[in-house]
């Protein structure tokens, strides 16, 4: 029986690949967006302007302190009531961006905060503007602190994309659910799903470990 189902699973493999492709797409686009927004917010948060610091602080606390599945429901089911109706794919990206940016913001702000105040002062004393201080002096040093946890966060975010299946995005996880209705061999189906996630995550885990060792030197 198991062999029979295995044959069916092999037949359905292209379906899994399309799920893998969707997961990769959601992950890749949202990681880029999250990184950009996260860095901008992190830099603003490390600044001493009271307003930004606290506004971003509230956003980060909300985004980090509520489950992603709740956030994605709000984006997909509640935003339309406020006039923003989105298809599942863009809704998934938006929800990922809101959640992921908050985590990356914290990593970036933490990295910037680890740089001695004197580095800012030395750069400021020589006439560099705030943006130049960040660009030439602070960020290059902070990257050493930021990169290892950032790549670690990428791994977490990739796995979090599985939640987008709840609003109908045909990603790897949803492919698993659909398949298991036709092939009642749950272990086999979800082992394959897990394996495919692992195939994307593991290289990043290795990269994170490598960066950690390298930056520690």
């Amino acid at each position: 029986m198991t062999t029979f189902y295995f044959g069916r699973l092999v037949e359905m493999f292209p379906f899994f690949l399309s799920g893998l492709w969707m997961t990769t797409k959601v992950a890749f686009i949202s990681l880029i967006v999250c990184t950009l927004i996260g860095f901008v917010l992190g830099m603003l948060r490390a600044n001493d302007t009271f307003f930004f610091k606290h506004l971003i602080g509230v956003y980060v606390a909300l985004a980090r302190g509520t489950p992603f599945v709740v956030q994605i429901f709000i984006v997909f089911f509640i935003f339309p009531e406020w006039g923003l109706q989105l298809e599942p794919f863009p809704a998934a990206l938006l929800a990922m961006a809101i959640m992921g940016s908050a985590f990356i913001c914290e990593i970036v702000a933490g990295g910037i905060a680890s740089i001695p105040k004197g580095q800012w002062e030395a750069a400021a004393s020589s006439g560099l503007t705030k943006v130049q201080q960040l660009r030439f002096v602070i960020i290059p040093q902070a990257l050493k602190v930021i990169l290892p946890p950032l790549v670690g966060q990428y791994v977490l975010l990739i796995k979090d994309t599985s939640v987008v299946s709840v609003i109908g995005v045909m990603d790897l996880t949803r492919v698993g659910w659909v398949t298991v209705m036709r092939i009642p061999e749950g272990l086999m189906v979800f082992a394959l799903v897990g394996l495919l996630y692992f195939a994307i995550s593991y290289p990043l885990i290795l990269l994170s470990n490598y960066l950690e060792r390298k930056m520690a030197r």
Binding site: G118, Q119, S125, G127, V137
Partner: protein, 242 residues
């Protein structure tokens, strides 16, 4: 050149600068000393607006430092600042440390900036260290690179905040030598230091602070040998005895 007019500053309840009146002439070498917590570092950090003030005014080269209309970049390019902890940029070579501001603030061409940078490194006796990273340099060498970095903008004023306090004793001399030769070149200098030898040799004036106030000012010989106030006498005896 530098003028403090009724300057007051508080850190919360602590009155760190108490009604400061001070004029520093062009080319003058001023040494500021006093016990720790007396406000001497804060005093010079206000000159290039590393610190805000709550009352009064500081005027540098006709620019009101804490006026928000003042071009802060222009002000700061006219003032070099040397920190106790050097604060070289660790990810850049000595030469890159020096050329960063000339290239990005003064918009000098890179080749020209590097030429100036090498001159300044030569000036502090470190011509051969242009490509060394800060971590490869001794404390004394790092501080001399930091001085070269300050000089690269051709400032009219150099501020030194305890430039030798973080150094091993055997490296203090090399840094002071550079500062002595700067003093003879007519740059206006404000130096927070307890190095009496330096003060006696090059200072035009010594200023003694305690609890945020200027207690006493005078020529170095007069100040060290015949302090007018008890507090200054007490302070001098303490730095002499160690």
């Amino acid at each position: 050149m530098i003028e403090f007019k009724g300057v007051n500053k508080w850190f919360d309840k602590l009155h760190v600068l108490n009604q400061i009146e001070l004029k520093v002439q062009k080319g003058e070498v001023l040494v500021v000393c006093g016990p720790s917590g007396s406000g001497k570092s804060t005093l010079i950090r206000c000159i290039n607006k590393l610190e805000p003030i709550q009352q009064g005014e500081i005027v540098v080269n006709g620019m009101s430092v804490h006026d928000s209309a003042t071009n802060l970049t222009k002000l700061r390019t006219e003032i070099g600042f040397v920190f106790q902890q050097f604060y070289l940029y660790p990810h850049m070579t000595a030469l890159q440390n020096i050329t960063l501001a000339p290239v990005n603030v003064k918009k000098i061409a890179k080749a020209e900036a590097e030429k100036i940078g090498r001159e300044k490194l030569d000036r502090v006796g470190l011509a051969e260290k242009a490509d060394a990273y800060p971590a490869q340099l001794s404390g004394g060498q790092q501080q001399r690179v930091a001085i070269a970095r300050g000089l690269a903008m051709s400032p009219e004023i150099m501020l030194f905040d305890e430039p030798t306090s973080a150094l091993d004793p055997e490296m203090i001399g090399e840094v002071l030598d550079v500062m002595v030769s700067l003093a003879s070149e007519g740059i206006t200098m404000c130096v927070v230091t307890h190095e009496m030898g330096f003060a006696k040799k090059v200072a035009d004036r010594v200023l003694f602070m305690d609890e945020g106030k200027i207690i006493e000012t005078g020529k170095p010989a007069d100040f060290f040998d015949h302090p007018q106030t008890e507090r200054a006498a007490d302070f001098i005896s303490k730095i002499l005895s160690h």
